[in-house]
Symmetry: none
Subunit: 414 residues, 2 copies
């Protein structure tokens, strides 16, 4: 099946946002064995949108449109597609009820313009939107198919994953399945060096990726069914575990923090955080995982020195002698958080996230992270580069990694 | 001048990379008064690239192409454009010398395939590449113009800024300027309903956008100079402030949290946070702003009830009588955080982020947020919708908004 992606939105044409939808859709479509020939962006302009749709169907048989499903009167994608397929827009009561319910739950008045979002081309397949108001839809007339999805990625992506992908796989009959093994504490090139032979395979293929201090191997198989794909993938995955298992913390969508929370729950260990330059980011990461309340009770954001002393019992002298950004302070922060919280493990961060506040001996990107548990207190010195956000984000990864490795090591010692 | 951006590259069609070039070019082109009508992505396929170029010139008079200028044989953009404009490729000695020099400086042998990059359509304007090997070019034939730029953003961006922009501004003699008014506490549709009349204007145009619990109105004017654009935008902005001023927290790139931190610094007010279900997210947001240490000293992540009691002095009885998720608990958390931190303002959050933990009387998405300052303690009950992340994220927005509105109100009272 040949496809074109049309993203509708003047903000794209003005360069106010990046078209991540096109990237996400293109990647998802190839998973379903659909070949994307073109991507197009057009503004909220009826005439030009009509032309773009006409041109697209000269080239392909499947057109995926994102954006222009909103409540305002410059949102016209659905109206124009209905016209193109010669269908009337009719009220879809379940969607109207869902939209009303959405506003009720938010305790807000539903504006009547939102009713427009519940009018759908007759005979189309409705795609429910569980993250917003605008429903999506699939409409076909034999040779041509259009799939309309909302513009906001947070609405578009789940709708595509949960409702469009299964429908497409059904259509194309061939599927592409991937399984990703995620690793920390090993660089992409070292990881790849361990599996060069496997990377020469054709089905499944094995490809290395690097992301923000993590490395992954993606095993991808093409087959007629999920089961067949799994049969192709399984032995290769097994072989990779045999070679690199010690670095693998999870698979596919599992994030580092999810893997950590799972480990802590399994081992019945509780954790607390003492944060200076990350300012609550580690605590918010841990508590972003559902069920984290089992292993996380309290965290301390000690941005000011007096807070480090008062909340964590960091010694005045330590701050005076070594400064707030030092291994000594980091260790006392971790020990203080462990004592104050009564958690099994406490981690701490103190550093210079920038852009200001750096000096020759303590430059921006210098961060100390410490961990205190019943085995004692360890500390690592990080030298990170990049923006304030990057430094903070990388620090979080390093802390999560530090805890996972600490737990695993202690496991071995038993 | 009407333009289309064509990005050439199979990696874009496969969704392996995001098309940041289109965003950067679109933004830069509007600065020069060029109106981008379409963006297109096509793979490294001669036939489809030729079709894309033909289609583009049916719609616009200026086509900007990025990518496909590399040394390999699937890099064909220059060859196809030369053919389209009926020009021969001739050796451009200065470019060849520059490419040779580039390899010399990098201490690498120049591969002869790189010579291909020095052959340019006769009569074109050469754009020097100071960050890579491939030169760019501008070619015109009276009504049609093509601008070819390298694909790597590190090469494309400086070439566009330094060589293409000045050339374009000369050509168009006009610019486009936008001003965005950012709002909270009002939905996109309700916001739009207040300014439907203004949205019918042609210059400037007024367009509504919705983003994660925020709404924006973008005013865009075309004029011969920045000053003239401002003259067109100003009265419309004024009118919008008159109608929606209470919801407007900032303009253009200002984020809600930046607006808050700025306000706190201006008013010399310090703030502290007491977080249950947001688990440190508010503190991490505030501390994500450089300079926040001026107004933020400490924060409390009190996930467990015992932490709420120990760190914030929430009464055992309050938790027993009303539960952790209640206005009573939220208020005591805020007051406790204000007392413990000595900050001027303390905010607190307690709620059910989900997916579990909900009940009939206290469903997922029920969140209480409180604020304590020298004027007393106020509390709001939120009913939020969506995933755990969404509930937490929206809660943060609401807390930031609550603080901004509180500060502003107190300003009025003076």
């Amino acid at each position: 099946m040949k496809a074109e992606i049309i993203a509708v939105g003047t903000e794209l044409l003005l360069g106010q946002i990046v078209n991540t939808n096109a990237r996400d859709l293109a990647a998802g479509l190839s998973d379903c064995g659909v070949i994307v020939y073109y991507q197009t962006v057009v503004g909220d302009n009826p005439g030009r949108l009509k032309d773009a749709i006409k041109d697209a169907y000269k080239r392909v048989d499947l057109v995926i449109l994102t954006g222009g499903l909103g409540p305002t009167k410059d949102d016209l994608t659905k109206e124009i597609i209905a016209e193109y397929f010669g269908k009337k827009l009719v009220l879809h009561q379940p969607s109207l009820d869902r939209i009303k319910g959405y506003f009720d739950r938010m305790g807000r008045e539903m504006n009547e313009t939102n009713e427009k979002q519940a009018y759908m081309p007759e005979g189309c397949i409705i795609l429910e939107n569980n993250c917003g108001t605008a429903p999506g839809l699939i409409i076909e007339n034999g040779e041509k198919t259009a799939i309309l999805l909302p513009g906001p990625p947070k609405e578009m992506n789940p709708m595509f994953e949960n409702e469009v992908k299964p429908w497409l796989k059904e259509k194309t009959g061939s599927i592409i399945k991937s399984r990703t093994l995620k690793m920390v504490d090993i660089g992409e090139s070292n990881m790849a060096a361990e599996v060069t032979d496997l990377m020469e395979g054709e089905n499944p293929t094995v490809a290395p990726y690097a992301k923000e201090g993590e490395s992954e191997l993606r095993i991808t198989a093409m087959a007629e069914s999920e089961d067949e794909a799994d049969k192709l993938i399984e032995p290769v995955a097994k072989e990779i575990y045999a070679r690199l298992g010690e670095y693998i913390y999870g698979e596919d969508d599992t994030t580092l923090v999810e893997a950590l929370v799972k480990k802590l729950i399994q081992k019945k260990l509780t954790i607390s955080t003492a944060e200076s330059c990350t300012g609550g980011l580690i605590a918010s990461e841990i508590t972003s995982v559902a069920g984290s309340s089992e292993i996380f009770g309290s965290g301390y954001v000690t941005y000011a020195n007096c807070a480090k002393m008062k909340m964590l019992g960091v010694k005045d002298k330590t701050l005076a002698d070594y400064g707030a950004v030092s291994s000594e302070t980091a260790k006392e922060m971790a020990e203080g958080a462990r004592a104050a919280s009564g958690a099994d493990i406490a981690v701490s961060v103190t550093g210079i996230a920038g852009p200001g506040g750096g000096s020759a001996e303590k430059p921006v990107g210098l961060v100390y992270i410490a961990l205190a548990d019943n085995g004692g207190t360890i500390c690592e010195k990080l030298k990170l580069d990049g923006s304030r956000d990057k430094v903070r984000g990388r620090t979080v990864k390093n802390v999560l990694k530090m805890v996972i490795q600490r737990i695993d090591k202690k496991g071995e010692n038993k």
